[in-house]
């Protein structure tokens, strides 16, 4: 019996293929942003209130950093899943969400949100008039909180893109 278990363990180790996490600088470069040229959106009261609504809690900061390349904006944002913050990289343009990656995952469970099969549900997503995502996101069993965190960041980035695109 124990032999079977050691064999299983060996198979597991062999099967361990990487789901690479990029650093935020790498992510920004990949999407044609100059990572050293960050802009800041200083949040006014209306924006603070709107973000509070999206996140279900106040934003723990006074401004949000972003990177811009013509119509396209990139963000590196944090949101707690269950206990510890998850770091996301997200790119939005006028067509909606272009790219969405998990740059750092610190929770003990729920890391399936890193998988492309899940993330691609967000691509092309936009905000409806009542501030919801226009696309249905099928969840992941055992990753409820991570999925929720990622959905909030999608909505936040779309909202921020609206704000910085206003003339």
């Amino acid at each position: 019996m124990l032999k079977f278990i050691y064999l299983y363990l060996a198979i597991c180790l062999l099967a361990s293929n990487g789901v690479a996490q990029a650093s935020s600088a790498q992510f920004l470069q990949q999407h044609q942003f100059n990572s050293s040229e960050a802009k800041s959106l200083w949040l006014n009261k209306t924006q603070q209130a709107a973000i509070h609504e999206i996140l279900s809690h106040p934003y723990a900061g006074v401004r949000i950093r972003y990177w811009q390349n013509t119509q396209k904006a990139g963000f590196v944002l944090n949101e707690i899943g269950k206990e510890l913050p998850i770091t996301y990289g997200i790119v939005v343009d006028s067509q909606g969400i272009k790219a969405f990656e998990v740059l750092a995952f610190r929770e003990s469970r729920g890391d399936e949100i890193k998988n492309l099969g899940f993330r691609k549900q967000f691509f092309g997503g936009k905000l409806t008039n009542d501030g919801e995502l226009n696309q249905n996101i099928d969840g992941i069993s055992g990753a409820t909180y991570s999925v929720r965190s990622m959905t909030k960041i999608a909505k936040l980035a779309l909202y921020l893109h609206q704000q910085i695109s206003q003339p």
Binding site: I5, A15, V19, R63, S108, G117, Q121, S141
Partner: protein, 369 residues
């Protein structure tokens, strides 16, 4: 005249000295902007920082047994404490008070359900050591009340698996794009067969000065081929579930599926323990214990969901006597906020051994943060 001109030029130059040029103004603005950004950085670092994170959940239940007693119970009050120790090392813990009041002769318990260190070895491999939840079933690891239907946790995972189940040991997790694996070596069950106990639930030692003569090995595979589809299977082996008293080998097989497609979802689970036939000499039929449930659910609106569940389990499945328990439940969850839920369900429990049927109306409120 010359004097006047000289005075004028003197005044003009002093004016020029007092009024900074546009370049100088721009420089000052840039300096101020840098200082402002630095201040914002400092504020945000303090806000996010490396602080200890605190979370938790809890649930209050009201059980109205038809023709029997009613009960109200603060079933669980739980606090999570966690901390990121460095970029690859983290601490997690779960501290729980069950049934509100613990102590000698009191109904409740104070429990540490999790307390472990997790270390990422690379992007797809992590290890943990300490006291952790066994990787088995649907509810064992994820059991915050806002994540499942029904006031009480289902009886199949409770009585067969047995959830909530934690042990002390070490584990490896390997994560791939659609497949992930867990292997854990940990403390095992200790079923007091001589004292008349025969179920895995009664064998949980809760890592409290536990007998560790015979360890257990657990292996799990999770397969998530597409968003909304999750299949999992766990195998556990323990050489002696009596820790040297009666030499009884135990094997657990569990498999489940969770499917969420749009507003519809389905949970299905099967679990079976096989013990050495020697267990039958202590309790006839206990050498096999198994159960399953099916739970379809439908999200009526974003905040309201309804479900039905059929469960069947038998802690004495090894003999031909009628000993199974069948349950039919239906009810609703109403989410007041995304992590706050009101629950209502009606449960009919049919105990074939005693040929009795019990109907219970359950109400609950649960939260997590």
């Amino acid at each position: 005249m010359k004097k006047t001109l000289g005075l004028v030029s003197l005044l003009a130059s002093s004016v020029a000295l007092a009024a900074p040029s546009n370049d100088e103004l721009q420089q000052q603005i840039d300096q101020l902007r840098a200082q402002l950004e630095a201040t914002a950085d400092a504020v945000e670092n303090t806000a996010a920082g490396s602080a200890v994170s605190i979370g938790g959940y809890g649930e209050l239940h009201y059980n109205n047994e038809q023709g029997g007693d009613n009960a109200i119970d603060l079933h669980r009050f739980v606090l999570f404490i966690g901390k990121e120790l460095n970029s690859t090392t983290r601490f997690f813990s779960e501290f729980e008070v069950e049934h509100s009041l613990a102590g000698d002769g009191k109904p409740g318990e104070v429990e540490i359900e999790q307390a472990f260190i997790e270390k990422d070895i690379n992007d797809s491999l992590s290890a943990k050591a300490g006291l952790f939840l066994i990787p088995v079933g649907i509810l064992n690891e994820t059991h915050e009340p806002d994540t499942f239907y029904g006031v009480e946790r289902n009886n199949v995972e409770k009585n067969i698996v047995p959830s909530t189940w934690w042990e002390g040991g070490a584990a490896l997790t390997i994560k791939g794009e659609t497949l992930s694996y867990d292997v854990a070596l940990h403390s095992g069950l200790n079923i007091d067969v001589v004292g008349g106990k025969s179920t895995p639930r009664k064998g949980r030692q809760k890592v409290a000065k536990a007998e560790a003569n015979d360890l257990a090995v657990t292996a799990r595979v999770n397969y998530k081929p597409a968003a909304g589809i999750s299949l999992g299977a766990t195998f556990q082996y323990q050489e002696d579930v009596t820790q040297g008293v009666a030499s009884i080998e135990g094997q657990l097989i569990e498999a489940h599926a969770v499917v969420e497609q749009g507003d519809l979802s389905l949970r299905a689970l099967y679990a079976q323990w096989s013990f050495d036939d020697k267990l039958a000499t202590f309790k006839d039929g206990a050498e096999k214990q198994s159960g399953f449930y099916l739970e379809p659910a439908y999200k009526v609106t974003k905040d309201l969901g309804v479900f039905a569940r059929y469960s069947s389990y038998d802690n004495l499945a090894g003999n031909s006597a009628d000993t199974e328990v069948n349950e039919t439940a239906f009810g609703a969850n109403y989410w007041l906020a995304e992590t706050v839920v009101l629950k209502l369900d009606y449960n009919q429990k049919d105990d074939t051994a005693s040929d009795t049927t019990t109907d219970t109306l359950n109400l609950g409120v649960g939260y997590s943060f």
